[in-house]
C-alpha cells in the first residue's frame, strides 16, 4: 500500500512553533523507509501524523491514493508499534494480539475459534509460540516488542509504522530483531516506515533513508547515495564521524587553510570561493615524509573497531583529528609530512557543492 504525504504542516499547540514544515513524502508500495534525524527533528511527529494520531493544520495523508481523515479511517489498515509498546497491561499476550479482532462489530468479527487460530499463527510468526498466556509485566523487552508487533499485524494491515521500536532493547537483541523485522517485511509484503535516531540501524535495514531536521526533510535517498553524496553538512555529520577542513576553491583546486593538508583537484562544476571539505576518518591518508624531510604530523593509536585501528592526529590548529587505518599488525605511533584528503566532499553554506 503506497503512502503519500503532501505539504503536511503541524504547529505546536499554544506557542505556535512549527513542528512539521510543509513535509512531502512518497512511499511506494512495499518499500522499507527509515526516518532518521536528531531528537526534536519531527520524525515521530510525522509518523504520528501519518497514523492520524495527531491533528495537522495543513496538507494531506493518502493511503493508496485515498485521503485519510482521522484515526478511524485508518483503523485496521495501519499497524503502529509504539516506542513503549503500549501493550494493554491487564491482558495476556494472546488477548493483546487478538484485540483488533475482538473489537470488530459482531457482523464482521471472526468466530472465537478463528481468532484463537489467528493468534496462534501470529505467535508462531513472532517466534514466541509459548507466551500467549503471559501478561506483559512478565515479558522481557524483546518479547514485548514481538507481542506489540503481532498485535499491530493481527488485523492484516498493509502498512506498518514503527516508532523507535528498538530503543529499549540491548544491542544483541536489537541486531537480531532488526534483520528478522526486515525479513518479515519482505515475507508479508508490507510497506514499512521506521523511525529511529540510530543512523546505523537505518542504513542497515531500510531501502530508503529520509533524514529530517527542524521539521523538514533534508534528504531522501538510498543508503548508497546517502553515503556517497550527502546533501548537507548536517547529513554528512549525522551519518557518521566526519572531519572538516575549511579552504578556498580556485582554478579547479581546493586549497586548504591548513598548509599541512595537501590541496586537491575538484570538478569544474564547483564555483570558485570559500568552501568546507568534509571527510570520514577512514578516508584520510597520511603522506609519509621523504628521506631528509621532517615529519611534523604524529598520530597515536587510540582504540579499534570493525578491523580499523583508530588514531588521533595532533597538529596545530586542530584538536585531535581522528583517522582510521585498516589493522595490519603494526601498532605504534605514526609520523607523516602531510594529510591527503582528496576523497573529501565539498560543502558551501552548509549545502553540498556539485
Amino acid at each position: 500500500m503506497s503512502i503519500e504525504v503532501s505539504a503536511l504542516e503541524r504547529f505546536a499547540p499554544g506557542r505556535g512553533k512549527a513542528l512539521l514544515r510543509k513535509v512531502s513524502l512518497d512511499v511506494p508500495d512495499s518499500a522499507f523507509v527509515a526516518l532518521v534525524g536528531p531528537s526534536g527533528a519531527g520524525k515521530t511527529t510525522l509518523l504520528r501524523a501519518i497514523a492520524g494520531l495527531d491533528p495537522y493544520q495543513a496538507g494531506t495523508v493518502s493511503l493508496d491514493g485515498q485521503v485519510m481523515e482521522d484515526v478511524s479511517a485508518r483503523a485496521g489498515q495501519v499497524g503502529f508499534v509504539f516506542q513503549n509498546y503500549a501493550l494493554f497491561p491487564h491482558m495476556t499476550a494472546a488477548r493483546n494480539i487478538a484485540f483488533g479482532l475482538d473489537v470488530l462489530p459482531a457482523a464482521r468479527r471472526p468466530t472465537r475459534a478463528r481468532i484463537n487460530e489467528r493468534v496462534r499463527e501470529l505467535l508462531e510468526l513472532m517466534q514466541i509460540p509459548d507466551l500467549g498466556g503471559a501478561y506483559p509485566a512478565r515479558l522481557s523487552g524483546g518479547q514485548r516488542q514481538r507481542v506489540a508487533l503481532a498485535r499491530a499485524l493481527a488485523t492484516g494491515p498493509r502498512v506498518l509504522l514503527l516508532d523507535e521500536p528498538f530503543g529499549a532493547l540491548d544491542p544483541i537483541v536489537r541486531r537480531s530483531i532488526r534483520s528478522w523485522l526486515r525479513e518479515l517485511h519482505d515475507r508479508l509484503g508490507l510497506t514499512t516506515i521506521l523511525v529511529t535516531h540510530d543512523q546505523e540501524e537505518a542504513l542497515d535495514v531500510a531501502d530508503r533513508i529520509v533524514v529530517m531536521q527542524d521539521g523538514q526533510i533534508v534528504q531522501d535517498a538510498s543508503p548508497v547515495d546517502l553515503d556517497s553524496s550527502p546533501a548537507t553538512e548536517f547529513v554528512m555529520e549525522f551519518l557518521g564521524e566526519a572531519v572538516s577542513f575549511p579552504g578556498i576553491v580556485g582554478a579547479g583546486r581546493m586549497v586548504l587553510d591548513d598548509p599541512l593538508v595537501l590541496p586537491f583537484s575538484v570538478p569544474d562544476s564547483v564555483a570558485d570561493g570559500p568552501a568546507v571539505a568534509m571527510i570520514r576518518p577512514y578516508e584520510i591518508q597520511l603522506v609519509p615524509a621523504q628521506p631528509g624531510q621532517n615529519a611534523p604530523l604524529r598520530a597515536v593509536p587510540r582504540g579499534a573497531r570493525n578491523g580499523y585501528r583508530h588514531y588521533v592526529l595532533n597538529c596545530a590548529g586542530h584538536d585531535g583529528i581522528p583517522f582510521f587505518l585498516p589493522q595490519d599488525g603494526a601498532d605504534h605511533a605514526l609520523e607523516g609530512a602531510a594529510l591527503d584528503i582528496s576523497r573529501a566532499r565539498l560543502f558551501r553554506n552548509g549545502l553540498a557543492c556539485l
Binding site: A51, G52, L53, V71, S72, R74, A75, G76, V78, G79, F80, F82, N84, A86, F88, P89, H90, M91, T92, F99, G100, V103, L104, Y135, P136, A137, R138, R151, A152, A154, T155
Partner: protein
C-alpha cells in the same frame, strides 16, 4: 513465622538498624492498632457469656448494622462512577481551575464531620436549597436512608478519587491511541482499555470508602433522622447503648461491627489481588 523470628535475630543486614526499626514498627503497630482491637475482642465477654448472648439477640442492633452496611455499600458503589469521572478530569482534562478542584476534593477529610453533617442536613431538609425542589419531585433525602447514603458519598468520595488518580496517571496515553488504531470504538476504548486496568484501584477505592462509611458517625446523624429499625446506624446505636449504661450491648455491637468490617475488607483485599494478578512481575 519461624523465618520471621530468625530474621529478627540475625543482625548482618544491609539496612542499618534493621532490628531497631523492626522492633519500633512492631511496637508502634501493636500499641496503636492491635492493643485497642484486642481489648474490643475481650471486653464484651467480661460481663459473662449469657449477657453477651442476650445482647447479640437484639433485633434493633441487627437493623442498625444492616442500615450501616447497606448504606455504606450503596454510597461506595455510587461513588465509583463519580470518583472515576473526577479522577479522569483531574488527570486527563486540562481544565482551568483543576488545581483548586484538586484541593477541594480532600476537604471532606479535613472538615469536622459534624459540620458536614449539619451542612448536608440543612441543604437537603424539606425547606433547604436542594431539599425543597427535590421534595416537589417526590424525592425526600433527609431523615431516611437516602440521606445516609448522600452523607456517606460526601465523606467517601476523596478515598475513591485518591485511589484511582495515581493509577490513571500512570496509564500511558498510548494505550488509548493503540486501541483506536486497532479499530476500537470510543466506548470500547473506555471499557476495555481504561476501566479494565483500573479495576484493582476501583476495588481499593470501594474498600476504603466502604470502611469509612461503616464507621462514619458525625456527618450521618444530623441527616439520618435516626429512627430505630429504619434509619439508625450502628455507630449511633453504640452511643445510645452507652448512654443507657448498657455496656454489654454497646460492646456487642462494636464486636459484630469489627468482625464484619474485617471480613468485608478481607474480601475486598482478596478481590483486588485477584483482579491485579497481571501486574505482578515474574
Amino acid at each position: 513465622m519461624k523465618q520471621f523470628f530468625l530474621a529478627l535475630l540475625r543482625s548482618n543486614r544491609a539496612l542499618p538498624g534493621y532490628r531497631l526499626s523492626l522492633i519500633t514498627t512492631l511496637l508502634w503497630a501493636g500499641l496503636l492498632i492491635v492493643l485497642p482491637l484486642s481489648t474490643l475482642l475481650v471486653r464484651p465477654w467480661q460481663d459473662g457469656v449469657s449477657a453477651m448472648l442476650t445482647a447479640l439477640r437484639d433485633g434493633r442492633m441487627f437493623a442498625a448494622l444492616w442500615t450501616s452496611f447497606s448504606c455504606a455499600a450503596t454510597a461506595a458503589a455510587c461513588n465509583l462512577p463519580f470518583g472515576l469521572m473526577l479522577a479522569w478530569a483531574l488527570v486527563r482534562g486540562h481544565l482551568p481551575g483543576r488545581h483548586v478542584a484538586n484541593a477541594l476534593i480532600d476537604l471532606p477529610l479535613a472538615l469536622p464531620t459534624a459540620v458536614s453533617g449539619i451542612t448536608l442536613a440543612t441543604l437537603y431538609s424539606p425547606h433547604g436549597w436542594l431539599g425543597e425542589p427535590l421534595s416537589r419531585l417526590g424525592i425526600f433525602v433527609s431523615y431516611n436512608r437516602l440521606g445516609i447514603v448522600v452523607a456517606l458519598m460526601f465523606v467517601g468520595l476523596p478515598f475513591m478519587v485518591r485511589a484511582i488518580e495515581p493509577v490513571l496517571r500512570d496509564l500511558p496515553h498510548e494505550l488509548e491511541e493503540a486501541a483506536q488504531l486497532l479499530g476500537a470504538r470510543p466506548w470500547q476504548v473506555f471499557t476495555r482499555v481504561i476501566v479494565a486496568p483500573l479495576l484493582p484501584a476501583l476495588v481499593t477505592g470501594f474498600g476504603l470508602a466502604f470502611a469509612r462509611g461503616i464507621g462514619e458517625y458525625g456527618s450521618v446523624i444530623f441527616i439520618a433522622g435516626n429512627q430505630p429499625f429504619r434509619s439508625e446506624i450502628a455507630p449511633l446505636l453504640i452511643v445510645v447503648r452507652l448512654q443507657e449504661f448498657d455496656y454489654a450491648g454497646a460492646t456487642a455491637i462494636a464486636l459484630v461491627l469489627l468482625v464484619a468490617s474485617l471480613l468485608v475488607l478481607l474480601l475486598v483485599g482478596m478481590m483486588r489481588k485477584r483482579l491485579a494478578l497481571w501486574s505482578e512481575p515474574a
